[in-house]
Symmetry: C2
Subunit: 256 residues, 2 copies
């Protein structure tokens, strides 16, 4: 099955630079999941400089959902550490713009929203460790992401519930291996934050579970619940599943 | 041999709370190395809020020397995450005060210097992983700390050379185990940043090396070179080897 003219293997084999060019030119408008096998894909959050310290402390206190790998200089849309040639204003297929705690726009380009006082935070997503789980032949499925009842540790004006991704594993062996493998990927959510019934962390209707499957949840970098609850005057994030493809391999970012 | 009335085993067995009380009352004025076996001891850096975002980005870009585990609220001297009952103004035996890039004081208490706009950063020291190396019976000696020729990645107004600690290991086995063990301790400098001749990173006169010993350097949280070169108007740090004893065991902070 082709998407926007590309086969799955063409997308997986594409370099991050080529894929970002496609996105920049408006020739890839879909989710980024199949693109650039092995490369870390990242969530994005952008706040005004006046909020940047508090947001970075917030991320620091909540490293499972918000594992920052790059902080841009104010006004600079280029993430120098993870993809210096990229432009964070144009290289994601879809964004979300929040104003005073409300979602006001879902543009495909944020050049018109860009300001000289904006600071961007690049945070690799669980998508990135999925490459490692697949490479190790772990049997599982991702059911989606949910807003949990776990409250993030607040920092300054930032607070709100933690989003999580939910995965179901075929066997205990697969689940144990997944804990081990994701523990190596601390900069992409690290190990799970919950094992067992997702209802315990407030997720009442995840995908139906098959007998014997093991349920685990990881922190998720979707910042919508935080943007809404914190009511920050201005914040931009990626749109869930429309991620930023970095130049760094997931294995480059692994801690062991 | 007793120090300030305490035997080595009494000091090692002391709780962090009791040890900090001694320090606070001025009854322990020496280096903290022998105190509270197993507990993470931390470096400290304090800057005005106007500099706090740039300093946190600086630490984030240089996690080997500056692995932050706690950032206080402006004006609040209590590190809520690692030792909520502690007072960072009084609970270290010796501090250093920098003004406009010059060391102006080495007080034993910084209450007189405290201001409502100060933000403190607590960063576990290599001292903390030494407990784990000793517990694994690794044979080595710490020769001291040095200013290397490696430049930290700058952030805003912060820049300067990286300080390192230098250790000599008896055998390749000990050295390999030390890489493995310190890799687990990412929040206390993590793995070494240099293996082999320290002259390569600008350290010309470390302690003499015995035949067969393996030389390795770790990032070090002594911020003096950064305070001097960055010429920040005001900054307080711990005095090297006079550390802050946290309530967290080194093993609690380990990533694996």
């Amino acid at each position: 099955m082709k998407k926007e003219g590309f086969s799955e293997s063409e997308l997986a084999a594409m370099s991050p630079k080529d894929f970002r060019s496609l996105v920049r030119r408006g020739e890839w408008t879909d989710k980024t999941l199949p693109a650039c096998r092995g490369y870390a894909q990242a969530n994005l959050a952008i706040v005004p400089k006046d909020y940047a310290f508090e947001f970075l402390v917030f991320c620091h206190r909540n490293p499972r959902p918000f594992p920052v790998v790059d902080v841009t200089e104010p006004g600079d849309p280029h993430p120098k550490l993870v993809a210096p040639e990229a432009d964070l204003r144009t290289d994601l297929p879809k964004y979300r713009v929040f104003q005073d705690g409300a979602l006001i726009d879902e543009p495909t380009d944020i050049s018109n929203y860009w300001r000289e006082d904006l600071v961007a935070f690049v945070m690799p997503a669980g998508r990135s460790f999925d490459w490692s789980l697949r490479a190790a032949n772990i049997q599982y499925r991702v059911t989606g992401w949910y807003v949990s009842s776990i409250q993030c540790v607040p920092a300054g004006r930032f607070h709100g519930p933690m989003a999580v991704t939910h995965r179901l594993f075929k066997t205990s062996y697969d689940a144990v291996r997944a804990v081990q493998i994701t523990s190596r990927h601390l900069s992409m959510h690290g190990p799970p934050i919950h094992i067992g019934d997702p209802a315990i962390i407030g997720i009442s209707a995840p995908a139906p579970q098959e007998p014997g499957e093991i349920s685990m949840c990881w922190g998720c970098g979707v910042a919508k619940p935080v943007a809404l609850e914190s009511k920050v005057p201005f914040m931009i994030t990626h749109c869930p599943s429309y991620l930023f493809v970095t130049d760094r391999l997931s294995e480059e970012l692994a801690v062991l």
